[in-house]
C-alpha cells in the first residue's frame, strides 16, 4: 500500500479529487446567502405585523374595471354586445400579436420559403423523368377532381392576394398609391375577400370528399419521410399520393377549414360575438392563411416547374407511365394490373383521355 500511495496514478487521482472538491465548494459559495434568506423567514414575518395594509384610493374599483379579478361586467343604458365592459384587455394583446408577430413573421415565412424554393431550383434544377417519357398514358385525376382542384386554387389565390393586400398594404402600397388610392383598393379587396371566402370553404369540403380516400397515411409513407422523399436514399415507394402530397392535403383540409370557419365568424359579426372571439378568430385566420400561402409556394413549384410530367396530371388528367413508375410505383402497379387503364397516346384524341372521357357513360369521379 505504501508504495501505491506515491505512484504517478495515485498522485493523479488525488489531484483530480482535490480539483473536483474545490470546484464544488466554489460553486456552492453563492448558495450560502440563499440559505440565510430561507432561515430568515421568521425574522421577516415578525416585521410584517407592524406594517399597515395601505391601499391606493379606489383600488377595488379600478381592479374591477381593469378586470384583474376575473371578468366583471357592468351595466349600461347602451345595450349592445360588450357595452358593459369598460376595458377590454384582448384589444392590446391582439394589436401586439398582429403587428409584432403576424406581420413580420408572416413576411419572413413567405420570403423564406420562396427563397428556399428558388435556391433549390437553382441548385437541383428541374427533376426530369429518368429514362424519358414512355408515351403511354395512365389516367390519374377525373374531370370532377380537376375541376374541384382548379376551382379551389383559383378562389384560394383571389383570397390570398386580397388578404395579403389587406394585411401588408398599409406598409407597402400606401407609399405607392396614396391614402385615397389605397383606401379604394382596400375596400375592393375587402368586398372580394368577403364574397369568395365562403366559396373557399365549400371548395375545400368538395376536395375533401373527392380525394380523401387515397390520402390516409400508411406505413409506406413513414419510409418516404425517412428517405426525404427520395432526395437522400435513392428510390422511395409511394401509392397514388406520396407522403408529401398527403401532408399537403391534410394541411389544406385542416388550415382551410380553420380559415373558413374563422372567416365566417369574422364576416358575420352580428351573431353576438364579442371582441375576444373576433380577435381569436382573426388570429387563427391570419396564422392559417400565412402558413397555407407559404407552403402553397412549394406545392405550386413541385406541380409545375419542379418535376417534369406533373402538371399534366391536373390539366389533362393523365400522366406518362414512366413518370408514374418513377414517382408512384405502387399506384402504377395497381393501375396496370387492370390492363385497360393504359391508354396509348393517340395524336387524334388529345392525349388519349378522350377515350375515357366520352366512351364511358359516366365521367364522374
Amino acid at each position: 500500500m505504501a508504495s501505491e500511495t506515491n505512484t504517478k496514478s495515485a498522485r493523479m487521482r488525488k489531484t483530480v479529487y482535490f480539483s473536483i472538491l474545490s470546484l464544488l465548494i466554489v460553486l456552492a459559495l453563492p448558495l450560502i446567502p440563499y440559505a440565510f434568506d430561507a432561515l430568515a423567514v421568521d425574522v421577516k414575518q415578525n416585521k410584517e405585523d407592524k406594517l399597515v395594509a395601505l391601499q391606493s384610493p379606489a383600488i377595488n374599483l379600478w381592479n374591477d374595471v381593469r378586470q384583474r379579478n376575473g371578468k366583471i361586467e357592468g351595466t349600461s343604458q347602451v345595450k349592445s354586445v360588450d357595452s358593459g365592459i369598460l376595458i377590454n384587455k384582448t384589444g392590446e394583446d391582439w394589436r401586439r400579436f398582429r403587428l409584432e408577430i403576424l406581420v413580420p413573421y408572416g413576411a419572413y415565412l413567405m420570403a423564406g420559403i420562396l427563397g428556399a424554393i428558388i435556391l433549390f431550383y437553382l441548385v437541383r434544377g428541374k427533376t426530369l423523368i429518368s429514362g424519358g417519357r414512355s408515351g403511354e398514358r395512365i389516367p390519374r385525376f377525373t374531370l370532377n377532381q380537376r375541376t374541384a382542384h382548379w376551382f379551389t386554387a383559383g378562389v384560394f389565390w383571389l383570397l390570398a392576394i386580397t388578404g395579403l393586400i389587406l394585411l401588408y398594404g398599409k406598409f407597402v402600397l400606401i407609399p405607392l398609391l396614396g391614402a385615397e388610392g389605397f383606401s379604394i383598393t382596400a375596400a375592393a379587396c375587402k368586398e372580394m375577400h368577403n364574397l369568395f371566402g365562403p366559396l373557399f370553404l365549400l371548395a375545400v369540403l368538395a376536395m375533401l370528399i373527392l380525394l380523401v380516400k387515397d390520402n390516409f397515411f400508411k406505413l409506406v409513407d413513414l419510409k418516404w419521410f425517412a428517405k426525404g422523399g427520395g432526395m437522400f436514399g435513392g428510390h422511395v415507394s409511394a401509392g397514388r399520393f406520396n407522403a408529401g402530397e398527403k401532408t399537403w392535403f391534410w394541411m389544406v383540409m385542416i388550415f382551410g377549414i380553420a380559415l373558413g370557419i374563422s372567416g365566417l365568424i369574422l364576416e358575420f359579426a352580428i351573431l353576438g360575438q364579442g371582441r375576444e372571439v373576433m380577435a381569436l378568430s382573426h388570429m387563427f385566420h391570419g396564422i392559417s392563411a400565412l402558413i397555407l400561402i407559404s407552403v402553397s409556394f412549394g406545392h405550386i413549384y413541385l406541380g409545375t416547374v419542379g418535376v417534369e410530367g406533373t402538371l399534366e396530371s391536373m390539366t389533362t388528367g393523365s400522366v406518362d407511365a414512366a413518370w408514374a413508375k418513377e414517382h408512384h410505383d405502387l399506384w402504377y402497379k395497381e393501375m396496370t394490373e387492370d390492363s385497360e387503364t393504359i391508354v396509348s397516346a393517340d395524336k387524334n384524341t388529345q392525349s388519349g383521355i378522350a377515350q375515357s372521357g366520352i366512351a364511358s357513360p359516366d365521367t364522374g369521379g
Binding site: 370532377n144 380537376r146 375541376t147 376551382f151 379604394i184 368586398e191 364574397l195 372521357g357
Partner: protein, 213 residues
C-alpha cells in the same frame, strides 16, 4: 373627367351599339328565307316552337349524367345573374334613374351577396370545365373565352364596388359593363336572345314534320 366619359358619351355609345347591334342581328336572321315545306303538317308550327323553347330548359334523360355539371352550374350562373340584374339594390336604383323612371323593392343585402356567390361559383365552374373538358376544348373558340373573361370581370368589378363607398370602383364596374355591351352583339353572348328564335325554328320544323296518327 373619367366620370363624364363613363357616365356620358361612352354610355351612350354602348347603348346605341348594344340595341342597334342586336336589332341588326335579329333582322338578319328574320330576313333569311325559310324552307318551303309542302307536306301536310302534323301539328302547328307554333306549338312546336313553344314546346321546343320550354323543353330546351330541361336536359334529355339519356345524356343527363354526362352534362350534369353544365346544367347545375349553368343554372346557378344564369339564374343568379338574372336575379342580380333585376333585384339587386344598386341595379334597381340605376334602372330607376337611367332607364325606366320607376323602381321596385330590391332584395335584402344578405340575399344579394349569397346570390352573387352562387352566380360566381357557377361561372367559375363552367369556365374551368370549358378549359379542362376535352370536348369543350375542341369546340371552344376565342370568342367563347373572351366572353367568359369579360363576364367574369363585369361581375368581379361589381363585387369590388359592393361597399358603394367609392365612385372610382362604381365607374370601373360601369366601364366593364359598357365594354360588355359593345362586345355583346358581335359575340357568342347573343345566345341570350338568339336561343328563342333558334329553338323556335327547330321546334316548328319538327312540329310540322311527321304523320298525324
Amino acid at each position: 373627367m373619367l366620370e363624364q366619359l363613363v357616365d356620358g358619351i361612352f354610355w351612350d355609345i354602348a347603348l346605341v351599339v348594344f340595341f342597334a347591334g342586336i336589332a341588326w342581328r335579329i333582322v338578319d336572321v328574320i330576313r333569311r328565307p325559310g324552307r318551303n315545306d309542302l307536306a301536310e303538317s302534323r301539328n302547328s308550327g307554333i306549338s312546336g316552337a313553344i314546346m321546343a323553347n320550354i323543353r330546351g330548359f330541361f336536359p334529355r334523360r339519356e345524356i343527363s349524367p354526362r352534362i350534369r355539371i353544365h346544367v347545375i352550374a349553368g343554372y346557378m350562373f344564369h339564374l343568379g345573374l338574372f336575379i342580380l340584374l333585376i333585384l339587386a339594390a344598386p341595379h334597381v336604383k340605376f334602372i330607376e334613374e337611367h332607364i325606366t323612371g320607376f323602381g321596385w323593392t330590391a332584395m335584402p343585402y344578405g340575399v344579394f351577396v349569397i346570390t352573387a356567390m352562387i352566380s360566381f361559383a357557377g361561372l367559375i365552374l363552367l369556365w374551368i370545365h370549358r378549359l379542362l373538358n376535352p370536348v369543350s376544348q375542341l369546340i371552344s373558340r376565342r370568342g367563347d373565352h373572351v366572353a367568359t373573361t369579360l363576364v367574369f370581370f363585369v361581375m368581379l368589378t361589381g363585387c369590388m364596388a359592393l361597399a358603394e363607398s367609392s365612385t372610382g370602383l362604381r365607374l370601373f364596374h360601369r366601364f366593364t359593363v359598357e365594354l360588355l355591351m359593345i362586345y355583346f352583339p358581335f359575340s357568342a353572348l347573343m345566345h341570350a336572345i338568339m336561343f328563342v328564335p333558334s329553338r323556335a325554328y327547330t321546334g316548328s320544323l319538327f312540329g310540322r314534320r311527321g304523320v298525324k296518327l
